[in-house]
Structures are given as C-alpha cells and as structure tokens.
C-alpha cells in the first residue's frame, strides 16, 4: 500500500476550479518535487493535503495509509502524520514557541496513545533539534514566529517538523525568500530527516532548492494538472527551458505518463 494516493483530484475555491484532476502516488521513503509557475495550484494542493477547509474538493479522492484523508480535520491529519511547512508561517503573539511545540507534540502523542512528554523530557530533545537548524534558543522564548525574519520563520517550520517527526512532510515553497546560507541550513535540516519511513513533497517554484534537496521524482504542475513527471533531471531541464516548454508539450506529457 502506498503512503499517499491522490486520484483525479478536483478542487475549487469560491467556485473557481484550481486543481483539475491530479493523480499522484507517493511511497514511504520517497521525495517528490512539485514544480510549476505561479498560480498553477501548487499551494492549493499543499493546503488540501493539510486539510484546510476553505478548499472544496469536487471530485476525486486522497487516501493516506489506506484511509480517506478528506474525511479528516487538520488536527486529525496532523496526528496521523501529515505535516505542512507553511509558505507563510503565521505569527501568533502571546503563544510561546516552546510551549506551542510541546502542546502540539503532546496532542499527537495523546492521539497515538503515548504518554505526554513533560518539560524535563522535552527540553533535551528540543535542544538537539535546535542545533540541527542552527537556531538560537532565545528565539524559542519568544512568541510563535513573532518578529522572526523570513529565514527564521522557515527554519522554525523545519524545526517543528523535526520535533513532530511526520510520516509525510509537505514543504510549501520553503526556499522562497531565503539567502543561500539559510537555504543550506534548511536543506540540511530537511535532508537529515529523510529516511525510509518518511515521504516528502517539496513544492517549489525554482530549481535552486533541488540542488540541496535532491528529489526522487519531479512533477510539473501547470494550470491545475500535472503535465510532466520524471526524475531529478527534469528539474534541470525546466530551469533551462522554462515552464512554457512544458505547456506546449502538455498533451504529449500526459500521454507519456499514461
């Protein structure tokens, strides 16, 4: 059984169809990259997987470990092991970073029938993960993402992923707005979390990130459809020839995939 199976997924927002029939299979241990121009539906797909309810699924199905993901609320999906690293992490004044992360971890542990972690157990583990992302622990005493730079916010997303250890991580434009140093830190954090049991979907506009996080598969999303799928070399080809190339070849690509 595949970890994630998306079949003929159609999604609308306010009556506009954004995703027009997506098929995608992701197995444990695989890293898939979804590339595409702005407005192609990449973020919509990411948000639907994290179960944001502003999106209306009009057709198709998503199963996660054989279960209907579309039946799940966001917190249930998270507890089952789905994690979304946000393109725009939300600032929440008044909720401390550390407190939030421990609450989230304990909510998930409780769901899985495990004991909650007290501060004594949590902190050493947490410090390890902070080192991994080269993050200052002073940041953790502050409110969630409040006053964080763009790079700090993105690192904080990967830190959360490192603590929550999901089965499926979706990284939504985690590279955007990062300078090369921050990009390296984020990528090495992500790479250290790659393992046989965990799958990742890396959503990106640029090929740059894929130099650091090398995917097993690359899919090109244009106008709500996957028009081309291939190995990591597809990303390089895209970088060279631009997205317009895939649009022209769309019917061929669809045929080739079938």
């Amino acid at each position: 059984m595949s970890l994630l199976e998306i079949e003929n997924l159609h999604v609308s927002v306010d009556g506009n169809e954004i995703l027009k029939g997506i098929d995608l299979t992701v197995n444990a241990g695989e890293v898939h990259s979804i590339m595409g121009p702005n407005g192609s539906g990449k973020s919509t797909l990411a948000q639907v997987l994290a179960r944001r309810d502003a999106y209306e699924v009009t057709e198709g199905s998503i199963t996660f470990e054989g279960r209907d993901l579309l039946e799940m609320k966001p917190e249930k999906a998270a507890c089952e092991g789905v994690f979304l690293a946000f393109q725009y992490p939300v600032e929440i004044p008044g909720i401390g970073n550390t407190y939030f992360l421990r609450s989230a971890l304990n909510a998930q542990r409780k769901y899985r029938g495990e004991d909650e972690m007290d501060a004594m157990d949590f902190l050493p583990m947490f410090r390890e993960k902070l080192k991994l992302l080269e993050m200052d622990d002073k940041l953790m005493n502050r409110s969630l993402n409040e006053g964080f730079s763009g790079g700090e916010k993105k690192r904080n997303e990967i830190l959360q992923m490192a603590v929550l250890e999901p089965k499926l991580a979706i990284l939504d434009e985690t590279d955007s707005g990062l300078d090369i140093d921050a990009l390296r830190i984020v990528a090495s954090g992500v790479n250290s979390l790659r393992n046989k049991g965990r799958a990742m979907i890396v959503v990106t506009h640029y090929q740059r990130l894929l130099n650091y996080i090398v995917p097993d598969f690359v899919h090109v999303l244009v106008d709500g459809r996957i028009v081309r799928s291939g190995g990591k070399e597809l990303a390089l080809e895209l970088e060279e020839r631009g997205y317009s190339w895939t649009e022209h070849d769309a019917p061929l690509a669809a045929g080739a995939r079938a």
């Binding site: 994290a50 179960r51 944001r52 502003a54 609320k73 966001p74 917190e75 999906a77 998270a78 507890c79 994690f83 979304l84 946000f86 992490p89 939300v90 929440i92 004044p93 008044g94 909720i95 939030f100 992360l101 609450s103 989230a104 971890l105 909510a107 998930q108 769901y111 409110s143 959360q160 929550l164």
Partner: protein
Amino acid sequence: MRETAVAVANIDAWLENFTEAEKRAVGRSLPWLHRLREDAFARFCEVGFPTTRDEDWRFTNVSAIAKTVFRPAATARLAPGDSAAWRVDDVAATLVFVNGRYDAELSETGNLPKGVTVASLREGIASHPEEVEKHLGKYADTKRDPFVALNTAFIGDGAYVHVARGVVVEAPIYLLYLSTKENAPTMTHPRNLIVAEDEAQIAVIEDYASVGGESVVLSNAVTELVAGESAVAQHYLIEREHLKAFNVSTLRIEQGRTANVASHSVLLGGGLVRNNVHPVLAGEGGECLINGLFLGTGSQHLDNYMHVEHAAPHCGSRQFYNGILDGHSHGVFHGRIVVHKIAQKTDAKQTNRNLLLSDNAQIDTKPQLEIYADDVKCTHGATIGQIEENALFYLQSRGISELEARKLLLMAFAEECVERMHSTVARAHIQRLIGENLLFTEGIAPQDGTLGRVDERVVEEVG
C-alpha cells in the same frame, strides 16, 4: 421620558437611605467628613443618575440602576469554609469585606513591615483622622460623576492603606469584597484610600465577587490612590460578580513627580459594569500604565471609561485594553486623554483591541483627545476582529484540536494584558480566573454545533 424624571426617581428611598446611614455613619463628630457626605448627597440629588444623552454615558444605559430601590446590604457572616476558598496565597495582607462591611475575623494583617498601615477605612478614620482628612474626597470629583457623588454621600467602610516614605511592600495587599444573596436589591459603596508616600512602593488588588447565589446588588466603589514623589504603585481591579450584579467602580489616581503607577483591570463578571480609571499626572516626569482586559458573554455590558489627565510636563501614559466579547455581550472602551497647556513633552499612547466571537456581540470604542499643549505626542488606535482563521488552521495543522486552538488563541490575546502585570502573585491569581472564565465562554466552541462534545471537554479540563 425627560431627564429630570430619571434623575429624581426613587428620591424618597435615597433620602431615607441617606438619613439612616448618616445616623450610624463613621466619624459623625468630624465636621469635614459630615460636610463631605452632605455636599455629595446634595450633588447627587441635583443631577441624579446619568442618561445616554450624557456624552460620558453614551454607550451605557444605567436606567436599570436608577429604577431600582436599593437598601443597604444586611450584615452577613460567612462560614469559615466559605472564606477559605477565597484566600490568595503569598499576599502581604488580606482585608475581607462582606456586604460592604469589614470582617476582621476573615482578614489578616499580621505580617506587615514597619511604616505600613492596612486597616478598614472606619478604623483609619478613628486612628489617623488627620492623614485621612488630608486625602479623602480630595481627588474623586463628585461633580464629574453622580456615582462618585453617591459613593461619597455613603462613605462608611472600605480599605485604608498607607505606606510611609521610602517603605517598600513587595507582596500585594489583597482587598476582597463579597456580596451575599439577599431577598431584595442591596447596595454597597466601598470607599478606599491608598496612599504611597514619596519613594514608597505598593501593590493593591481589589477583587469583587459574589457568594451564595444571585440577587440584585449594586457595588459602587471609589478608590483614591495617591502616589507621592517617585512612589511606585500597582493597582489591580478584578470584577467577577454574578450576572445580576451592577458594578460601578472609579479609580482616581493622583501622581506626584516621577511617580510610576499602573492600573490593571480585569472584568470577567457582573451584568452591568462601568470601570472608570482616572489618573492625573500632576508632577513632572510621571509614568502611568493603564492596562485592562474585559471578557463579556451572555448579555453582559462592560464599559471601560478611561480619563487620562496630563497636568505636568514630561509625563508618559500608556493605555492598553483588550476585549473578548461573545454571545450578546456589549463592550465599551472610551479612552479620553486630556493634555493640559502646561504638559509639554507629553507622550500618551492608547490601544484598544477587540475580538468578537459572535455575530451578536458588540463593541463601541471611542478615542477622545483634548490637547491644549503644542509639543506632545499622542497616538491612539483600535482594532476589532475575529479569531484569525489562519492562526487557527496553523495550530490545528500541528495536531492541536480546534477547541484547544481557540482556547490557546483567546488565552494569548488575554495574555497580552496579563504580561504587563508586574506582581507575580496578582498575575497568577488573575491567570487562573481568566482560564476558568474562558473555558465557559460560548464562542470558544466550534461553530458547527458540537456542543455536547464541548461540555465533555470542559469537565475534563476542570478535573
């Protein structure tokens, strides 16, 4: 109805109340006190209760108070077990007032440093008449507010706190006002006088609560807080009475040179609540923080009337009020800043943020700046919003349930105010009360009608 008709409603009953009170009043032999009360009562008779045509009362209709015949609350005794539940740990002293009367047995004033007097006002008038005369009624203006006039007319009991020059009292002094269930509408007029002499430091908590069931009560309190030169004072007001309670409170602060005063208000209970905070920065270089939180639900009406008066140069004031309103509740924030001509280099800031959790909740927020000096910085801002869907989704996407996520976000919003409170003792007490209150806030529940599940959850949380 004409204004005068409301003004004189039940005047016979008020006259009778006043005459009775005067007969047994504290300090009858003191002519100044006698005159203070008489003048105040005359003033009240002259103007009566305010109406919504009065600009200061535009959003708050007190006709329910005007129409009710109130009698002084009867003396009541609490079972020792009852009072234990109200105790706050680690305070410097506790004064308990039951139905407006000081209860020495429930109170505790044992371990105070030298130079600190904590007593009932009744005792204070007897033991320190000159000190009391110097301040009592000198700041709270009976002409400005009929409720202040009424309180002054009925000056009887309350707290008297005096801290001598340079003395520091770190732990807060806890004043608890309990009202009991009665058969007819009752009233109390607590009157508190808090004096921190030059370079003294003090923190006082006023906590209004009900015990033993609901009946119509009016609590009309006035506190005069005097902070001498370089004195540091914190004042905490907590209103958590039942929903049949009318609660009007006035905090009048008089600040000397470079004094630093903070007023923190937390309105959780009461049916109709009016919270007046009126600091006068009368000496150069004074700092004042006016911080507040109001949580409304059901049909509660919570009115915060701020009147910050800059009367000397180089003073700073900061107002922060956060409101969370649910059900049909109605919140008011009226933030008036007056900068006198002499008060150059004033730096005044005002922020009012509100969360509306239901379609029927209402907030009226009104800044009012009167600036007569020409070199000042005054800013004000207000926001009204709902729980942010983005933030909610972000928390849920990490595995936190919707109910828990809503609670976290509301606590965070409340926490902005709590964080400004310096006293850890007061903060812990207030945090606990807010937590209990938010659990029972209706709008915290998901909108899709799964209330049954919510109830379960509440029990689990409390246990």
